[in-house]
């Protein structure tokens, strides 16, 4: 990292840029809605009543704070740094996604819009949106690639039970990116009465900022829990990166702590050299998709290419713009973990700690194990356990050749 002091807390700028990344690359119709959202958010952000409402919901509905748990048996087995898990899997609905949907649904409520829409990959964000919509009595429509509808059938059914309409998207690669396209099209059409709850720290400004702000509860808690339990800051943070919301939520409150190293773990799929992966920060180049400039997976003609990951939640060709900026600054290291390594970590954490991670989170677990093994026994590594693995049981059973 270079020596000039970067102010991490002051980003993005007022037009939504993180250096060359971010911004607002959307069709004209949506500008008005984005302006409206931004000014409402800027106002409510400073409103103690709004913050109190979020805090109340996070405590009594989501069940925060989530524990910071020292995984002793896993640490012993790894034989290196002390491994702590930030237990976002224990949140209501089973993942970090709900931290964001609580916040955005409150924004929807304040905006007076009665209909919310969302895109989802693994289905966790769809479930988290359907959940808060049920609680607030809002109509909820969730777009999901038809491939993901098959891979994540349990979550599809959960959303339906919660009263949401799930619309399978048949265009393009039929995964998360296409679900996002379709949600944008819905929003353009129904912009007057619809609030779009984006599920990750990507999309046009102000979404990357507001999703980050809502997810920062993860890092703020982890920071004070770590100080309380160990008397000092961690040496490293590890989180998986799909669109990047759980990672930026953990990282952001530590960015000014120069001694804390950070690792964002992308989906390496079948291996970076095979091209069959979802790791734009490790193997992509900057471009424009879904309303922002960021690292992307694309071909030489600028077409977005199909991604591959065993975990639906990481199967996305882009990434939130703040991560692209942090990569170029060198503040965060971005690495990749293959399907096979993630599967092995899924099994091993389940056996050693009795904690079944989501396949997304298993990527972070796998990298943390490699990292910690090379570190001192006094060192501290915090791993974001972004979600629980129940939703993935059918996928794992299928890989094992078992009919459940």
């Amino acid at each position: 990292m270079n020596d000039t002091k970067v102010d991490f807390t002051n980003m993005p700028d007022e037009r939504g840029h993180f250096g060359q990344f971010g911004g607002r690359f959307v069709s004209e119709t949506l500008f008005y809605a984005l302006d409206e959202l931004q000014s409402m958010y800027n106002r409510l952000k400073k409103d103690p009543a709004f913050q109190a409402e979020i805090d109340h919901d996070l405590t009594h509905y989501v069940g925060r704070p989530s524990p910071l748990y020292l995984a002793e048996r896993w640490t012993e087995k790894t034989g290196g740094a002390r491994l702590f898990l930030k237990r976002e899997d224990l949140n209501h609905t089973g993942a970090h996604k709900v931290n964001n949907t609580i916040g955005q649904a409150l924004l929807a409520k304040y905006s007076g819009k009665k209909r919310v829409i969302a895109e989802t990959g693994a289905g966790q964000h769809g479930v988290a949106t359907a959940t808060v919509a049920a609680r607030l009595g809002l109509e909820c429509v969730v777009y999901m690639g038809s491939e993901d509808v098959k891979r994540q059938s349990l979550n599809v059914y959960r959303m339906k039970l919660l009263g949401a309409t799930v619309i399978p998207v048949e265009s393009g690669s039929k995964t998360l990116k296409d679900a996002m396209n379709e949600a944008m099209r819905d929003w353009v059409t129904n912009v007057d009465d619809t609030f779009y709850i984006i599920g990750t720290a990507a999309g046009p400004h102000p979404y990357p900022q507001l999703v980050r702000d809502f997810q920062c509860i993860i890092g703020r808690e982890a920071r004070s829990q770590c100080l309380e339990q160990t008397g000092r800051l961690p040496d490293a943070l590890v989180a998986c990166v799909g669109g990047g919301s759980n990672a930026i939520g953990l990282f952001h409150p530590f960015l000014d702590d120069a001694s804390v190293a950070m690792y964002g773990v992308e989906a390496g799929g079948l291996g970076l050299d095979t091209g069959q992966h979802a790791a734009p920060l490790s193997a992509g180049i900057p471009g424009v998709l879904h309303g922002n400039r960021t690292y992307l997976m694309e071909d030489e003609n600028g077409q977005i290419i199909d991604t591959h990951s065993v975990s639906a939640g990481l199967d996305y060709p882009g990434v939130g713009p703040e991560h692209s900026w942090l990569k170029d600054l060198g503040r965060v290291n971005y690495v990749a973990i293959t399907d096979d390594d993630a599967m092995a970590a899924f099994r091993s954490l389940t056996k050693v700690e009795g904690i079944m991670p989501a396949l997304e989170s298993a990527h972070a677990v796998a990298y943390a194990e490699k990292l910690a093994a090379k570190m001192d026994r006094d060192d501290i590594v915090i791993v974001n356990l972004s979600g629980r693995g129940d939703k993935d049981i059918l996928t794992v059973a299928k890989l094992d050749g078992i009919e459940v």
Binding site: R15, F25, E28, N181, N301
Partner: protein
């Protein structure tokens, strides 16, 4: 003078409205597009808008999305689209051509290289759906250097301030999106179009073309009463995707465009 301005001025003198037609390069196959462009012109098109296919066409409805997918299945690209324009210019040096697409293929080629190649091929303007004026300044500068026009969209939701900003960078014409929605939608509201056009004319001298939701002579004529011209897209892409033979497709295109032309020319009487 740029071909776009030249064409529109000539139409004004004849008191006629402009007819802009949109098809996607390479849809359904690369072989048909050149012939289709000539057929569109013969049937009464004033300005050709050629869609550059993109993997994630966020602003398109299902009809044009499928057009993009058909074109990409044959490897159609921005480069092959520039080659297409060059081929078209061998026999038609007058009809203006606007490329319409998304930012990423242009970013990938590089703004400078795009502007140079496009000007050499005979392109007249570029409309990038997801590149609003705020983000378009660098590209705009490159286009200006090669005397290419930046075409921008305005929408029913555009504030007066945004109308003003677009008016500062826009060239050739302004493309007014007639409705809140994606291409091919059908809830066109003529009276709201009329109101917005009068707001736009307060800030810009440029002609305003109205698109999205215009699919036949009737809707074209209604919009043409207030606008300087109309853009027809989905109705033509539907014909391109009909699965019929090349001859039938070209005939279908010609008939459709001729009927819209006839209806639109009623406005000049």
């Amino acid at each position: 003078m740029n071909r776009i301005t030249e064409t529109i001025q000539a139409l004004k003198q004849q008191k006629r409205k402009a007819l802009i037609t949109y098809i996607v390069n390479g849809d359904p196959t690369p072989e048909i597009t050149l012939a289709a462009m000539h057929a569109l012109v013969s049937a009464g098109t004033d300005i050709l808008e050629i869609g550059v296919p993109f993997s994630d066409p966020m602003a398109e409805g299902p009809v044009i999305q499928r057009g993009h997918e058909r074109a990409l299945a044959h490897g159609t690209s921005l480069r092959s689209t520039l080659a297409l324009v060059k081929a078209f210019r061998e026999t038609d040096k007058a009809t203006p051509i606007v490329l319409m697409g998304y930012a990423n293929p242009v970013e990938r080629m590089g703004y400078g290289e795009f502007a140079q190649s496009a000007a050499e091929a005979g392109v007249d303007g570029l409309l990038t759906v997801d590149l609003p004026p705020e983000e378009a300044e660098d590209l705009h500068r490159c286009l200006r250097e090669r005397e290419l026009e930046s075409i921008f969209l305005l929408a029913p939701t555009s504030s007066e301030e945004r109308v003003k900003r677009v008016a500062e960078l826009a060239g050739g014409f302004i493309y007014y999106v007639s409705l809140k929605g994606v291409t091919g939608a059908s809830h066109l509201d003529i009276s709201s179009v009329r109101e917005k056009l009068s707001v736009i004319s307060r800030y810009s001298q440029l002609p305003v073309m109205v698109g999205f939701g215009i699919k036949d002579g009737l809707s074209a004529q209604a919009v043409g009463t207030y606008a300087d011209g109309v853009v027809v897209g989905s109705a033509l892409v539907e014909i391109m995707g009909s699965g019929h033979s090349q001859t039938q497709i070209l005939e279908g295109l010609s008939n459709k465009v001729a009927s819209i032309r006839t209806a639109l020319d009623q406005n000049s009487k």
